[in-house]
């Protein structure tokens, strides 16, 4: 029995135009066999959540280098709650000081992959998370 491919949205919320990391992650996830939808720049939290729901995504990867991480992670996670789509895993990375990470995790982000994280770490984490999520859904 073949497993459905993992479907991931890689998103750039807000005004930040730095997309090198987002594109590298998107490519690494794709090379690892996942279906990746890269949103492009200037996404509102609403657009990101809409896309994730429409595309039946397992996860949303959020890339923020502009210092606006508290704002955007919170909004995205709140919107997912409102739309009853909390099963969508939220993770991300960018320029996020370590002291800010606990608050993001507490809010509901699954993981924050800071500068220097190998893409394999991100891939493996996502594969594990989705596997767990799917086995829980089956149970």
């Amino acid at each position: 029995m073949t497993e459905d491919k993992i479907r991931v949205i890689v998103a750039k919320p807000g005004l930040d135009g730095h997309d090198r990391g987002a594109k590298v992650i998107a490519r690494a996830l794709r090379d690892a066999g996942m279906e990746v939808i890269y949103t492009g720049l200037r996404q509102t939290p609403e657009q990101i959540v809409d896309t994730a729901i429409q595309e039946d995504a397992d996860a949303i990867g959020v890339s923020i280098l502009s210092g606006a991480h508290h704002f955007y992670f919170s909004r995205i996670i709140d919107l997912l709650k409102d739309r009853k789509a909390e099963d969508i895993i939220v993770f991300g990375g960018g320029v996020i000081p370590d002291e800010d990470v606990p608050a993001l995790l507490e809010k509901g982000a699954g993981a924050i992959f800071g500068p220097g994280t190998p893409t394999s770490t991100c891939v493996e984490w996502l594969q594990t998370q989705v596997k767990e999520k799917r086995s829980m859904e089956l149970a």
Partner: protein
């Protein structure tokens, strides 16, 4: 460089070397199978005379200040005047940033460089919905001339030159700077500085575009014309490779795509009826200084030689001032690590040195904490002092282009030029840079290079000290990071309400309509109307708002 007899003797000696090499390799192999720069350029074991057989000193190197300017844009270079120590800064409110600018000047900074927040860079006032969460985070929030006046409080614009990293709304911020100068009693022809004003690289690599290409190019050539006539000491554009490199390009791509952008700007300006001998004098450039030291020095020299040739042969420019590539450099942000951040001080020192040996006109050195946040006073001070130590203590500034003649440096200068010319040729064949961007060619090259780099780091082929080698199990950071107050946005919103209640709103509305009229007519230079609106305290968002209505907005060409 060497005659036939000498070359034969050298070849004979080389054979002895090859024998000794064979013995050495059997005793112990080299550290890697292949040695490459971070750009993937192969580096030879030993460079020698045979690599420079075709070197023609006068034609390819010349003297500093003489065509083709390989050795420097000016005869005395740093013996006459050191590069400008221009630290990019700005965050939170105009008051906070003004404090930082005065601090930097007091610590020996020799020029200012303004970082604006993202709403300002994208033409949104702080009260715009898209500005939520973003005010003051990556730079200073500037909504109107009122903020700009605070930004330059106690800073005399006739004595200090200012570079402003602003692109799509560059005309508006330039207008604000001019108005601040006016209020200080400084005439237009005394103002000195730069606006980045390079929209093409925004589409390619940086992302703070607003309008589509055609009207964007029109605004840019309007600025060229306005400044040629009225603000002669102003660098009207800073054609940038820095961001292209940060996005992941190789060294030769950085030069190629920057110069291809430059060609597009020169062509647009000529089409608009401007003389390249005139506007060409006030074009400037902005490069990255990355890790492969030797390649970086060679890269800067190749860029100078290439641009002189392009202006002379492609555009028939004769004024020497319009042939010289003058550039600002920033050390590579993408090489900074969050792990063991003090190591960044060392990285930045080497990168800064490479740019000095490459002949930069001005330099920004990154701070050690910038993988995580904007710099604190202490970390920015260390970054500035790095430049001062290089400038005043290292001695490299006492002779011009000291690495010239090095077999490795000259070989790599030639090689980077050849690779870059190849890319430019491809872009020419496609129909120029605007088409190449539309087709996604440039973006794809950059992304492929970025992905290759990441794979090389993850395989260990490229070492990043503290990250994939010499890591520490646990790290404790013993310094504080800069935190931007979340209330900046709210403060700006209050300021805007206050501004709108105090200003002559009728005059503002009329000035906005004048901008609209000018926007509709391509033959009109828009700068006077923009300056007038700014003077009336129209906000940046209001001005960009009418331009958005008239010009439309750019839709990203998503290339993955």
């Amino acid at each position: 460089m060497f005659d036939k007899k000498q070359m034969e003797e050298i070849e004979t000696l080389k054979q002895s070397y090859e024998k000794a090499l064979e013995k050495s390799m059997t005793r112990g192999p080299e550290r890697k199978g292949e040695f490459k720069t971070v750009s993937g350029t192969p580096i030879k074991r030993v460079y020698g005379p045979e690599d420079l057989v075709d070197m023609n000193y006068n034609g390819m190197l010349g003297y500093p200040g003489l065509y083709p300017y390989t050795r420097g844009v000016q005869p005395t270079m740093y013996r006459g005047r050191l590069w400008t120590m221009r630290m990019y800064a700005g965050f939170s409110t105009a008051e906070e940033s003004n404090k930082r600018y005065r601090y930097l000047l007091s610590q020996g900074g020799s020029g200012l460089s303004v970082a604006f927040d993202l709403p300002t860079q994208i033409g949104y006032d702080s009260d715009h919905p898209m500005a939520q969460g973003e005010c003051g985070k990556v730079g200073v929030a500037i909504d109107s001339l009122a903020d700009m006046e605070i930004l330059f409080d106690q800073i005399p614009l006739d004595k200090v030159s200012t570079s402003m990293t602003i692109n799509a709304p560059a005309s508006v911020l330039l207008a604000m700077y001019i108005c601040v100068g006016e209020k200080q009693g400084v005439a237009l022809n005394k103002l000195s500085g730069t606006i980045q004003n390079d929209i093409l690289k925004e589409y390619i690599a940086r992302g703070t575009y607003i309008f589509p290409p055609k009207p964007s190019m029109r605004l840019i050539t309007d600025i060229f014309e306005f400044c040629s006539k009225n603000v002669p000491k102003w660098n009207t554009i800073s054609i940038s490779g820095y961001h292209i490199r940060e996005a992941g390009s190789t060294a030769s791509q950085e030069i190629a795509f920057t110069l291809a952008d430059a060609i597009a700007y020169v062509e647009a300006a000529i089409k608009a009826g401007l003389d390249p001998n005139i506007f060409g004098k006030r074009l400037s450039f902005f490069f990255n200084s990355h890790n492969s030291f030797i390649e970086e020095v060679a890269k800067f020299r190749a860029a100078r030689r290439m641009w002189a040739k392009i202006m002379k042969e492609r555009f028939n420019v004769t004024d020497p001032k319009a042939l010289t590539l003058r550039f600002h450099t920033q050390t590579a942000g993408c090489t900074l690590t969050a792990q063991q951040p003090e190591n960044n001080i060392v990285r930045v020192t080497l990168q800064a040195l490479a740019s000095v040996l490459g002949g930069t006109q001005s330099l920004h050195t990154n701070s050690m904490d910038e993988a995580l946040a904007l710099p604190t006073e202490k970390s920015v001070r260390i970054a500035l002092k790095t430049q001062q130590v290089i400038g005043y203590e290292s001695g490299v500034t006492d002779t011009v282009d000291p690495l010239a003649g090095s077999f490795a440096i000259e070989s790599l200068t030639n090689e980077i030029q050849a690779l870059a010319e190849d890319y430019i040729s491809k872009i020419d064949d496609m129909g120029g840079m605007l088409t190449a961007i539309e087709k996604g060619y440039v973006q794809k090259q950059i992304q492929d290079a970025a992905y290759d780099y990441q794979k090389a780091v993850e395989s260990g082929e490229i070492t990043v000290v503290g990250v994939n080698k010499f890591q520490m199990e646990e790290e404790e950071r013993d310094f504080q990071l800069l935190k931007v107050d979340e209330k900046v946005g709210l403060n700006q919103i209050e300021k805007l309400k206050d501004l709108r209640s105090r200003r002559d709103n009728l005059a503002v509305r009329e000035s906005i309509e004048e901008i609209r009229k000018a926007a509709k007519d391509n033959s009109v230079n828009m700068m006077p109307q923009i300056i007038n609106a700014v003077r009336c305290y129209a906000t940046e968002g209001e001005i960009c708002g009418v331009l958005r209505e008239e010009f439309g907005e750019y839709t990203e060409n998503i290339v993955l």
